[in-house]
Amino acid sequence: MGLVSGSGYFLIALGPAVTIFASAIAPKPFLILAVIASALVWLLSLIAASIVWRAFLPGADWVFLPMVVTTVALQEVVRVLFWRYYLKLEKSLNVLATKMRKPHLNYVDRLEIALASGVGHGAAHAVFFGWSVLILASGPATYYTDTCKQMPYFLVTALNTLAFFLILTFLMVITFNAYTKDEHSQQLFVPVMHFLAALASLVNLLPNGCIVGVPLVFLCAAVTMGYCGKIVWDSVGSSSLDPGDLQRRQL
């Protein structure tokens, strides 16, 4: 085990993250800054939630339900605030663009920033919930929890981390699109999906729950990705693939 399993779990949990980062985000420095800023915002929301709930931990299993609900609610509120703040930032960027004689940010740019913010959110989640635990897998032996005797604990964590990374990343893209186009159904989809995914992971608390919990979370991830893909394709992909056309697509 050891190094092999450690690297394996890393690739499962963070492989797509690294790929998305390297291909879509790393070439543009501003997007890297967006990743860091988004990760910081998410960290702050998590710290706020943890200060409130610290007194109740470690607690009985039922404590998890209100904890999860309130924390997810807080994150969704922060998401809306993030969007509002982004609008202000975009104005400044456009002023700068004028000075530098570059085009203003268009819809595709906005989606790229959304992707970067989502990656920040997802990566921060992956590191805190996943990687901080998975790093132990590079040591000897493995670990099973009582409630999940079917899969090693690290594998379940890695799979959940992967699913949540995908969910959080693409939920942010959907959010930006939803608020840009003022689509209420999409705006509602985001918090609902986040809640569903978090509640699905609560199923893991039951004995043998992970057999159901992990596929459920992946189902959420698949739905999120599918929905996001459909939205983006409808908005952007259906036009010609001429880059000039994409550039000109204004907000």
Binding site: P29, I32, L46, L57, R101, V127, T147, V156, A198
Partner: protein, 472 residues
């Protein structure tokens, strides 16, 4: 496809954040592999002169002892910095260079050697003493040459600077816990005082360097810009310098009239998104950006002072000197370029050229060395491009993160984000205040705050959830 603003904005910040991240990553890896719980017996050093922390001491003893250690350390650093200022004042640059070269060699060969031996021991790597010695000494010699004396590919120089910073930071993580935290806060405070007060040693150093238009003897990491094709940096030689100067002059004369256009077209320009104050850092020859107040920071004066015995090295900080390549030589009548603002060790190593807003800033030009007179001399303080960050900043950021690594990966990540956020905030302040700023205080305070928040609140919260396989 035309490059949009996303391709351009933030490039220079990232060019600093990347080496800082790499340095932190190196330190965290070394800590995690070699000393994950901070169990290594701390070596005696200046930072522990007043009090040797024991695990069995009481809370107040530890706190008091750590404060004493921190005060002693800051005093010693202040004294040494003033010595450095004096040496610089009396123009003993040779002496400084030799000293710094020796320090860098010690760090790379001795500290690097010890770390390498620990790795060899841990992984049972088969290597004999002779090979090891040859490799270490070569590694260290090339490092010293790359950083101080010759011009090498920029990646080599940058790489060695990062390695020096990582090794020094790793050594600092050997200090006992309380001492480390109080020391970090004390150094942040010292930084503020040293850079911002008029009589502060770093401020004096900076002012002297500006007056004389000489290079500050300081270890500075410089993020070189990407020069557009046709404006390559020629190999170092006085002829080359003259060539470069001439080339620059032609450019500058052409661009003198319309600096804005140059800025707009420069693919290297990056800026903070600040509507009123457009801060553009651009490298190289075509920009003429001058802040009203020269922002010069000096690399924190922390000197490596090896203690004579059996190799216990003291902490450090080096004022190292990096060869600046002059990329602009100007006549009296051509607009001088301002350059570089060396950063104080505490200061953000952002050397920015600020676009002069017509209404609120006057252009002030700094003459740089004339080509005829100074062919063989080092260019002055204003002459290089690129953002700079003092190596002392690298060291202390990495110490904080390294110490966080001894607790948990979560604290590492929280501190990393905090430090990067602090660095960003310092850059914004730099754009607003237009003067040399210390880079340590904001990042270190955020870092320490986030460490304790993460350790006390976040860690139990997240661990409780993830061990129960609940995710949010």
């Amino acid at each position: 496809m035309e490059k949009g603003i996303l391709d351009v904005v933030g490039g220079e910040i990232i060019s600093l954040v990347t080496p800082v991240s790499i340095c932190m990553f190196l330190v965290v890896s070394m800590v995690h592999i070699l000393d994950p719980h901070g169990e290594d017996k701390p070596i005696s050093s200046i930072a522990m002169m007043a009090y040797n922390e024991q695990a069995s001491d009481s809370f107040s003893e530890k706190l008091g002892g750590a404060l004493l250690n921190a005060i002693v350390f800051v005093l010693i650093v202040t004294v040494v910095t003033f010595m450095l200022v004096a040496l610089f004042y009396y123009r003993c640059t040779r002496c400084l260079k030799v000293y710094m070269g020796m320090s860098a060699f010690t760090v790379l060969a001795w500290m690097g050697g010890i770390v390498a031996v620990q790795f060899i021991r841990l992984y049972s790597i088969p290597v004999d003493v002779v090979t090891f010695l040859i490799c270490t000494i070569n590694f260290a010699s090339v490092g010293v040459a790359a950083v101080f004396f010759t011009r090498m590919p920029i990646l080599v120089t940058q790489g060695y600077l990062v390695v020096i910073g990582a090794l020094v930071a790793f050594w600092f993580t050997k200090l006992p816990e309380w001492t480390t935290w109080i020391l970090l806060l004390a150094m942040a405070g010292y930084d503020v005082v040293a850079v911002l007060t008029p009589r502060g040693p770093l401020n004096l150093l900076v002012e002297m360097a500006i007056e004389r238009d000489e290079e500050i003897p300081a270890l500075i990491y410089e993020a070189r810009p990407n020069y557009p094709s046709g404006v390559q940096m020629p190999p170092p030689s006085s002829d080359a310098q003259t060539t470069r100067v001439r080339r620059w002059r032609r450019n500058s004369q052409a661009s003198n009239a319309r600096p804005d256009t140059e800025l707009g077209e420069s693919s290297r320009s990056a800026s903070n998104a600040h509507p009123e104050t457009t801060l553009i850092s651009s490298e190289g020859d075509s920009q003429i950006l001058v802040p009203a107040v020269p922002e010069v920071g000096i690399l924190g004066s922390r000197l490596i002072s090896p203690v004579g015995e059996a190799g216990s090295l003291n902490a450090v900080s080096t004022v190292m000197h990096e060869n600046q390549v002059s990329d602009s030589h100007l006549d009296d009548d051509t607009a001088p370029l301002v350059q570089r603002h060396a950063q104080s060790s505490a200061s953000t190593g952002i050397s920015d050229r600020v676009e002069a807003e017509a209404d609120d800033r006057s252009r002030r030009l700094h003459g740089t060395s004339q080509p005829a007179e100074e062919d063989n001399e080092e260019p002055g303080i204003g002459t290089s491009g690129g953002l700079k960050l003092g190596l002392g900043d690298f060291v202390f950021y990495s110490v904080l993160v390294g110490r966080a690594a001894m607790y948990d990966l979560m604290t590492v990540y929280a501190c990393y984000l905090a430090i990067v956020a602090g660095l960003g905030a310092t850059l914004i302040l730099l754009a607003v205040w237009q003067r040399a700023l210390p880079a340590l205080p904001i990042s270190i305070s955020f870092g320490v705050l986030f460490y304790f928040l993460a350790r006390l609140f976040l860690d139990p919260f997240v661990l409780d959830m993830s061990t129960s396989l609940v995710f949010i």
